[in-house]
């Protein structure tokens, strides 16, 4: 199960610690939102990087004041049909300005990757030996987009407008 960051395999140095389990002294950990909210002073005071794992029902706005100190936010997709994670991602990126790593975990299928990248995920844990190639294909299917989103691609609506202007100049 390779971790891909911006489509490239990288070593995963992070581990999720279940609520109630101790954090060992070294290492990078993610914890649940509720644990983070109740223990954030201690967690952010550690020398190691800390992150949060959001479940689909979690409200990312609760992290607003801590976002610049978080190195990783994981968004769980317990089922690929549960699309709440896309709204969480767009909220984190576009509403709250989170700039750290945003990682999709759980049931991540290659056919979701286009939507994930578009809503601001830059890391995914993807099944399969051909994960890197699958990622490249899945995110390259569509060369145009109608919606502005966290990936900040230029939309068709903008391009048409621009094209007209440049045609006039020409």
């Amino acid at each position: 199960m390779p971790l891909l960051k911006n489509g490239k395999p990288v070593d995963d140095v992070w581990a999720f610690v279940e609520d109630g389990n101790e954090l060992s002294p070294g290492g990078c950990f993610t914890v649940s939102l509720s644990r983070f909210l109740s223990e954030h002073d201690m967690l952010l005071g550690r020398n190691e990087a800390v992150g949060v794992r959001l479940e689909p029902a979690d409200d990312p706005a609760l992290l607003a004041e801590h976002l610049d100190r978080l190195h990783l936010i994981e968004v769980a997709f317990p089922k690929y049909t549960d699309g709440r994670g896309y709204s969480i991602a767009n909220l984190l990126r576009r509403r709250l300005g989170y700039a750290g790593e945003l990682r999709a975990v759980g049931q991540v299928l290659r056919d979701q990757l286009n939507f994930m990248v578009r809503t601001g995920f830059d890391a995914v844990v993807l099944n399969g030996d051909d994960a890197e190639e699958a990622y490249r294909d899945a995110t390259a299917y569509f060369s145009e987009v109608y919606q502005a989103s966290a990936d900040e691609r230029e939309t068709v609506f903008q391009k048409r407008h621009k094209k007209k202007t440049s045609q006039k100049v020409a």
Binding site: T81, D82, G83, D111, Y146, H161
Partner: protein, 553 residues
């Protein structure tokens, strides 16, 4: 009519290519059905009782001769020479092979069509008034906004895995021919005191197991704010709509569980919190560009009355009857809109053969300014026809078996495919529909009965809109036997209402006689010939009709 530019064209072609890859992975066994299912659904591919079914979008019901001919070719080459028009302005092919679907999508792309998001838990095909741009009753043509919504919703990255399907309809007329009150979001264009046009936003309508009419969440949303406000609604629904039970997952349940006021508060809060860069505002030039495609065609200056047409009607009673029932008033003098009924006696409602599609294409090309629409009643419409040409159009339709004179009448009923095709259905719909149609086999009797909407669904999912028929018929399964419940008093127009179930279900063979008895009761009780069935029902209450329904000898 809107024409794709290179961007729109690129996207539908890339979609076909993407699906070709997905189908290849499925056929090679690399992709499990479980994971393929949402992909095929978002391309309109259902697994039905006997075969795969492909549902193709006809955004806001707009067709052209070129598109119709392509659909006819697909019907012949990949299906059994016919297609089925649906209540949401789609066309379905019932016998498509999965391996052929990518090729069909490529053919569709050639004529600026697609099957994107015609199924699955995403924003579906946007629908509208089939007389848009032709009727005198609208404040402006709603189709540019439908096209804008189509583009905005196509592959929307945040809303591809909603709790449940999501349907949007738009109308700009006083008379609601798009059933906006039974859509997840209904948009009703209106004009404010300053003379600007904007949108009343109704949310939470829908049929299915728990029917609701949409409630007005905002009385006024400006054109500038429309897409941003839609995004706010979609996000509140995506985050908070129920996902624990698919029968409680539509937005209507969220609106009702929260209450409209709390729902409105949440949407307003989300809308207010949008940063400037989150707003979805199209450049005015872009709105103008899309609107320009819907500029009225060049109409000729004609007298309001056509002497040729009047004379032809005097000579041909068949034409006169058809014209009385199937023509709709047009905003331009000397023109009319022609309702082509796809409900002849004894045929599955909404079915249309390849030859008939070509015939309509030819007629539209010669006499209809290239403009064909699909109506949510599962009929076709020629939006712009000269009164002078009506006799010729009638003759051509008649030659194609398309001149049923029953638009809006008892035999012009809505029915889902039912147990003959659908793996959700509990009971047959088509055979019941045909038996009800037979009540009206005598044209004189059908005219005498007048306006009557009969809607039939083969199961509780309500694809045949049984809740909003003046008379609704719902097929249920009782210990392996088909039974049919009868509803009364529904309507889908601007006075939308959900019908009431009358009582115990009837056996298949009892349905048509029972409906006939209710119609006889109506004829004996109506205040005058001009009092419609639905109006008599409102005046008299349902009791006398229910009594007739169960008054079997």
């Amino acid at each position: 009519m809107y024409r794709y530019d290179e961007f729109d064209d690129t996207l539908v072609r890339e979609r076909a290519k993407q699906f070709r890859g997905q189908v290849a992975r499925r056929l090679a066994g690399e992709l499990k059905e479980e994971h393929f299912k949402p992909l095929r659904l978002q391309n309109g591919v259902y697994l039905q009782l006997h075969a795969y079914m492909l549902r193709i979008a006809i955004p806001y019901g707009q067709l052209s001769p070129v598109k119709l001919r392509k659909l006819a070719m697909i019907a012949e080459r990949y299906d059994k020479n016919y297609g089925h028009f649906t209540t949401r302005q789609n066309i379905q092919f019932n016998w498509i092979k999965l391996a052929d679907v990518p090729e069909v999508l490529e053919h569709l792309a050639d004529v600026e069509m697609h099957a994107i998001q015609t199924s699955g838990n995403c924003i579906r095909n946007v629908t509208s008034d089939h007389l848009a741009g032709a009727n005198a009753d609208e404040i402006e043509d709603p189709r540019p906004w439908c096209e804008i919504i189509r583009q905005w919703s196509t592959f929307h990255p945040e809303f591809a895995f909603l709790p449940r399907k999501f349907k949007i309809a738009v109308t700009a007329a006083g008379a609601d021919r798009a059933a906006v009150r039974v859509h997840d979001i209904g948009l009703h264009m209106k004009r404010n005191a300053a003379g600007e046009t904007g949108f009343e936003v109704l949310v939470g309508g829908g049929l299915g197991r728990t029917p609701y009419l949409g409630v007005t969440i905002r009385d006024w949303v400006s054109r500038q704010d429309l897409l941003s406000y839609l995004e706010a609604n979609m996000r509140v629904y995506n985050r908070h709509g129920r996902r624990d039970n698919k029968y409680k997952a539509r937005i209507k349940i969220l609106v009702n569980e929260l209450g409209p006021d709390e729902y409105r508060r949440q949407v307003d809060e989300e809308f207010a919190n949008q940063n400037a860069w989150e707003k979805v505002v199209l450049p005015q030039e872009e709105v103008d560009r899309i609107t320009a495609y819907f500029a009225p065609p060049l109409f000729e200056a004609l007298p309001g009355r056509s002497e040729d047409f009047e004379k032809a009607k005097r000579l041909d009673h068949g034409l006169a009857r058809w014209a009385r029932n199937n023509l709709r008033a047009h905003k331009i003098a000397g023109y009319t809109s022609v309702h082509i009924s796809l409900k002849p006696q004894g045929v599955p409602p909404g079915d249309c053969s390849a030859d008939q599609m070509r015939a309509v294409a030819d007629i539209a090309e010669r006499y209809g300014l290239d403009d064909v629409r699909v109506a949510h009643e599962q009929d076709l419409v020629l939006a712009h026809v000269k009164l002078d040409d009506v006799p010729t159009v009638y003759a051509a339709l008649k030659a194609a078996g398309l001149a049923s004179s029953n638009a809006g009448l008892g035999s012009d009923l809505i029915a889902c495919p039912g147990l003959d095709y659908c793996n959700l259905a509990n009971a047959r719909s088509i055979s019941v529909a045909n038996e009800i149609q037979a009540i009206f086999a005598d044209p004189g009797y059908e005219d005498e009965v007048g306006t009557l909407h009969v809607n039939i669904s083969g199961c509780i999912n309500a694809c045949g809109h049984h809740h909003v028929g003046h008379i609704g018929v719902l097929g249920v399964d009782k210990k392996g036997e088909e039974f049919y419940q009868i509803l009364l008093g529904g309507r889908a127009d601007e006075k939308a209402a959900i019908g009431d179930i009358q009582g115990p279900g009837l056996r298949h063979e009892e349905v048509a006689p029972a409906i006939r008895r209710m119609i006889e009761r109506y004829m004996s009780l109506r205040a005058s010939k001009s009092e419609k069935f639905i109006d008599a029902l409102a005046r008299l209450g349902q009791a006398p009709f229910k009594e007739a329904l169960y008054a079997a000898a």
